[in-house]
C-alpha cells in the first residue's frame, strides 16, 4: 500500500507543480512582502506585530483557499477525462487513491504556506521590522485568595476571575506554578484590570507588591520581586512613582494579550524555585481605592524565552494545515459525488462556514432566540467545523510561543472531521463504476 500511496502523493505534487502553482505561491509571497513594506504603524513594535499578523494570516489564507480548490480540480479531471480507468487498472485501491490525493494536497499546501512564511520571516529582517520577543508562558497551576489579615482561602476551580476589592487593602492572590525550568532566573508577567472603588470615578493604576517564597517554601519569609528594567510599565510616572518595593499596575483588560507590551515584567530569581520546578508567587494590593480584577488564565504567567520567531511561524503553518485538511477532504468528497462547480462551491462554503462558527456561537449566547432558532443554531454549530483554533497569527504577533497543545487543539477535532469526510468520499468512490 505504501508504494502506490507514495506514487499518488508524488503525482498530486507533480500535477500541482505543472499547473502553475509555484507562480501563484511566488506571487503571493511577493504580495505579502510588498504589503509588509507599506504597512502603516506608529512605532516599531506595532509595525512588527502588524507584519507578523500579515505573514501568518496570509500563509493560512492561501492554504485554505487552495485546499478548497485544488483536490476537487484534480479528482474531477481524473474522473471526467477517464484517467481513472487507467489508474484503477493498476494495483491501486480506491482508498489509497483518495488518501494519496489528500496527503499530496496537504504536502503541496504545506510547501506553499512554508514558502510564504519563510519569505515573510526573511522580509521581517530585511526590512528592519524586527520581530516580537517570543516567550513561552506558563499559567499557574493553582491560585488562592489572601485576605488583608493573611488568611488564605481557596478559590473555586470554576471561577475565571477574582476581584480584590477590600476597602482596607492589603488583600491579594497567591499563585502556584509547577513544571518550571530550574537553575536560572525567569520572568514573571502580571496583568490585571483596575477600576476605582466608586464606579463614577476613574482610575487606571494600582500600587501592588509582588513577592515569591524562597524555594517555594511557604514557611519562609517572602522575597519582594524586582521590576525588570525593560518592563513596559510598573515604575509609575514621574509625578507619582511607585512606592519603594512596590510596582504600579495599570488597567489591562482581557483583550490585551501581548506578552511584551501588556504585562508588567518582574524578575523571578532561581532561588525562588523549588528543585521540582515549583514557585509560589503572591500579589498584595496596596491601594485601597482601586479594585483589581485578575483573570485565572492570564493574570500571572511565568515566561521563559522561546527563541526566534521563525520556528514558531513554521509551527503556525502546521496549525493552519488543520482546516486545510478538512477543506481538502470535503472537496474530494463533493468532487466524487458531483461536478467541479458543485465541488468548488462546497469547498468554499465549508471555508466560509468554518470561519463563521463564532457568529453562530455568539448568536446562541445572546439568549434571546426562539426555541426553533436556537435548535437550528445548535444543529448548525454541531455540523460546522470550527476553524478558530487554527487562528494563531494574533498570538504569534503578541509574542506568545506556539505550543504543541495548540497544534493538537486544531488537529484533534478538525482531523476527525477530515477523516469522516474522507470515509464518505471513499464510500462514494466505491459506489462509482470505474
Amino acid at each position: 500500500m505504501i508504494r502506490p500511496l507514495l506514487a499518488m502523493i508524488a503525482v498530486t505534487v507533480r500535477e500541482s507543480w505543472r499547473g502553475g502553482l509555484p507562480w501563484l505561491v511566488l506571487g503571493s509571497a511577493v504580495a505579502v512582502v510588498v504589503a509588509m513594506a507599506s504597512l502603516d504603524a506608529v512605532d516599531g513594535p506595532s509595525r512588527s506585530r502588524l507584519a507578523v499578523s500579515l505573514v501568518g494570516g496570509s500563509a493560512a489564507f492561501l492554504t485554505w483557499l487552495l485546499a478548497a480548490v485544488l483536490p476537487a480540480t484534480q479528482l474531477r479531471r481524473d474522473l471526467d477525462q477517464r484517467q481513472s480507468l487507467l489508474l484503477f487498472s493498476k494495483p491501486l485501491g480506491k482508498s489509497t487513491y483518495l488518501l494519496g490525493r489528500w496527503l499530496g494536497t496537504l504536502t503541496v499546501l504545506a510547501a506553499a504556506a512554508l514558502a510564504v512564511a519563510v519569505a515573510g520571516a526573511v522580509a521581517l529582517g530585511a526590512l528592519g521590522l524586527g520581530s516580537p520577543g517570543m516567550r513561552r508562558a506558563v499559567a499557574p497551576d493553582a491560585w488562592q485568595r489572601v485576605t488583608g489579615l493573611g488568611e488564605v482561602r481557596e478559590i473555586a476551580s470554576t471561577q475565571r476571575t477574582c476581584s480584590l476589592d477590600d476597602p482596607a487593602a492589603g488583600d491579594g492572590l497567591r499563585w502556584t506554578f509547577r513544571g518550571l525550568p530550574t537553575g536560572s532566573d525567569l520572568d514573571l508577567l502580571i496583568k490585571v484590570a483596575v477600576r476605582h472603588q466608586r464606579w463614577e470615578l476613574t482610575t487606571g493604576e494600582c500600587a501592588a507588591q509582588v513577592s515569591a517564597f524562597p524555594a517555594a517554601d511557604l514557611r519562609a519569609v517572602p522575597r519582594v520581586l524586582e521590576l525588570d528594567p525593560a518592563s513596559p510599565y510598573g515604575r509609575g510616572v514621574e509625578e507619582r512613582p511607585a512606592p519603594p518595593g512596590a510596582i504600579v499596575l495599570r488597567n489591562r483588560d482581557d483583550k490585551r494579550t501581548a506578552l511584551d507590551v501588556d504585562f508588567a515584567r518582574l524578575h523571578l530569581p532561581a532561588s525562588c524555585l523549588s528543585s521540582d520546578g515549583r514557585a509560589v508567587v503572591q500579589l498584595a494590593r496596596l491601594d485601597p481605592q482601586a479594585v483589581v480584577t485578575v483573570e485565572r488564565s492570564a493574570g500571572a504567567l511565568v515566561a521563559t524565552p522561546a527563541g526566534p520567531l521563525t520556528p514558531h511561524l513554521l509551527g503556525g503553518v502546521l496549525v493552519a494545515l488543520a482546516p486545510a485538511a478538512v477543506l481538502a477532504a470535503v472537496s474530494l468528497l463533493t468532487a466524487t459525488l458531483s461536478g467541479l462547480p458543485t465541488a468548488l462551491l462546497a469547498g468554499l462554503t465549508t471555508l466560509i462556514a468554518g470561519n463563521a462558527a463564532w457568529t453562530l456561537r455568539e448568536t446562541l449566547s445572546g439568549g434571546d432566540n426562539s426555541a426553533p432558532i436556537r435548535r437550528l443554531l445548535e444543529l448548525g454549530l454541531a455540523l460546522t467545523p470550527d476553524f478558530s483554533p487554527a487562528s494563531v497569527s494574533a498570538g504569534l504577533a503578541a509574542g506568545r510561543a506556539l505550543e504543541f497543545d495548540q497544534v493538537w487543539a486544531a488537529w484533534g477535532p478538525l482531523g476527525a472531521w477530515a477523516l469522516i469526510a474522507l470515509a464518505f468520499a471513499w464510500l462514494a468512490l466505491v459506489k462509482k463504476e470505474l
Binding site: L24, G27, S28, V30, A31, V34, A35, S38, L39, D40, A41, V42, D43, S46, R49, L50, A51, S53, L54, G57, S58, F61, W64, L65, P232, Y233, R250, D254, K255, R256, L348, L351, I352, N355, A356, W358, T359, E362, S388, S391, S393, A394, A397, A398
Partner: protein
Amino acid sequence: MSRPVLILFAGLGCLVAAQVLWFVALKPLRPVVPATAEAGAGLPPGEFAGTLLLGGFRGLACDLLWMRAVGAKESGRHYESVALAETIAAVQPRFSQVWEFLAHDLAYNLAYEAEDRGAKFAWFRAGIAANVQGCLRNPGNERILRNLAWMFNHKGDDFHTEIDAAAWGGQLDPVIAGANALIPAHRRVDPLGARTGLSNFAIAARLYALAVALAEATAYDQPHIIPRMVPLAWEFDGNVLLGQGRHREALGSWIASIAAWQEIAERAARATGLSKSLIEESYQRNEGRLRRRAADLARRLASDPAAGEALASAIDQRHLAEAKALLAQAGWKDHQAGTTIRWLDEGGTL
C-alpha cells in the same frame, strides 16, 4: 400568437426594461464611477499585483478576508484585523467599507491600546491617513468622506491641543480638492493650506459640508442627520474657541453655524413625512438658542455699544452676510475680559 412567441416577446421586453433601468440608475453615477477599462489605471504596484494575481477570485477572497477581519475585530485581535483590512484594501481598494473599518481600527481600537497620549494621537493620525487614502482611492464616495468628518468630530474631540497645533492642509487638501471638483462652485470648500489653529470641529464642519454637497451632486440618498452635523460642528467649534478665550473667533463660528441652520430650514421645507418633522424639530430646538447666545456675545464683545447692537440685531434677524461683514470690521474685542469658562452642560447664556 403561439406560446413560444409570447415567451420570446416577454423575454425581449424584460431585456429592454433592464436596459432602460440600467441607464436610468447608472446615469447619476457616471461622473464619479470610472469605467471598467480605466479601473486598473493609477493603481499602485502592490494593489495592481494583488488585483491581477487573484483575477476572478478577487471578490471571493475579499469576502473571506472580510469575514476573518470582522471575526478578529469582534474577538479583540485588533492587530490581526488591521493586517487583514490592509490586505483587503490592497486587493479591492474600491471597497469603501474596508477603508472605514481600517480607519476605525487604527484611530479607535489601536489608539485605545496605546499607552501614552502621544502614541494615541499617532494612531489617530494613522486612522485619518487611512481614511484619507480611502477618499483618494474613491473620489466621489460620500460615505468615506463622511466617516473622515465623523472621526474628526468624534475621536478628534480627545485631541483638541494636538489637532489645534497641527497643519492639516497637506493631508486633507487633496481630499477637499477631489470633492470640490465634483460639486457646484458655490458649495466648494476652501483648502486648509498651511493653517494651524483649527479645531477638530472646524475641520469636521468643512468635511461634512463637502459630504452633503457631494451627496447632492451624485444624487446619493444621505441619512437626514448628516446635513445637520454641519451647523452642529460649527457650534461645537464656537464652544471650543469660547473655552479657549478666543471669543471673537467663537462668534464667527456661531454665525457660520446659524448660516448652516438656514440651509437646514430650506431642506426641511423640501422634505416630507417623518424626515420633515425631525429636521424641523432639530432646527427649532437649536437655531433660536444659538442666535440668542451669539447676539449676547456680540453685545459683550463690542467696544462701541451701538456697533454691538447692530451686530446683535443682524444675527437676531438672520442677516448673516451683514453680520459677517460687521464682525470683520475693526473695533471688536478679541475676548471678553473677566469671563470664566462655562462648561457646556451648564445652563444659561455666556
